[in-house]
């Protein structure tokens, strides 16, 4: 999968750098991480990786189709590897728990929008609401 990275970069005339390998690996390992969390993680391994590099790299990796992002809070976005099964994020606004659901959950919506020619981005979806535990309060 690092080969994936090398291959895709080459296709685009881009270059393989240690930072890009590290950042991709960090996203894979952290599962759901903000840019800042990625930064902290890679700094734990190699010093002097800069925040701007993380932002620029995540952008590149997303364009290459190697990572994805969602918005699970009003703050920083969350990146995850495309190697994970695609899933829908369901977020409780009270306790901030994030549940992952199978894409089947929204299959009817995908189908309905497809009839209008709209291709839904399932992996980016975040559904907000109140979970069972917090409903009482």
């Amino acid at each position: 999968m690092s080969d994936d990275l090398a291959a895709r970069l080459r296709e685009q005339g881009l270059r393989l750098t240690p930072q890009r390998e590290l950042i991709l690996r960090a996203v894979d390992e952290l599962r759901h991480a903000t840019p800042d969390e990625v930064l902290v993680h890679v700094r734990g391994q190699v010093s002097s990786v800069n925040a701007s590099t993380v932002y620029r790299t995540l952008e590149v990796l997303e364009e290459l189709g190697l990572v994805r992002h969602t918005h699970l809070s009003d703050r920083a976005p969350t990146y995850h590897s495309v190697h994970e099964h695609e899933h829908v994020h369901v977020v409780c606004r009270t306790c901030h728990t994030v549940l992952s659901y199978d894409p089947d959950l929204v299959a009817p919506v995908v189908a309905a929008l497809a009839e209008d020619g709209f291709t839904m981005d399932v992996g980016h979806l975040a559904i907000f609401g109140t979970c069972a535990d917090c409903a009482g309060s």
Copy 2:
């Protein structure tokens, strides 16, 4: 509906101010507006309304259940009146067109999550993807 405002404020021991009336009216009139757009709008009517007042007021109005917000871009959130019919936002990431759908669109999802005790916030939902016009490119 300004009476609504007065009543709800009173219930909470809060005060009715010109700024709060103006900002609520701006959200009603602009239909989908960012805090900054609200600011510009109210400034067109009365000078010297401050950005922080807009933020604080939108927060209050949302707590009172008079306005709602969604995230239709990676930038500032969008506020709209609760007087509009509740609707689901569908956003094309290519041309940035925002389509409004009836909540029926996601009824199956609401039902499925309800079985797990999760109450979905339909009005806050934003679905991203690619619209028919942009699919070709």
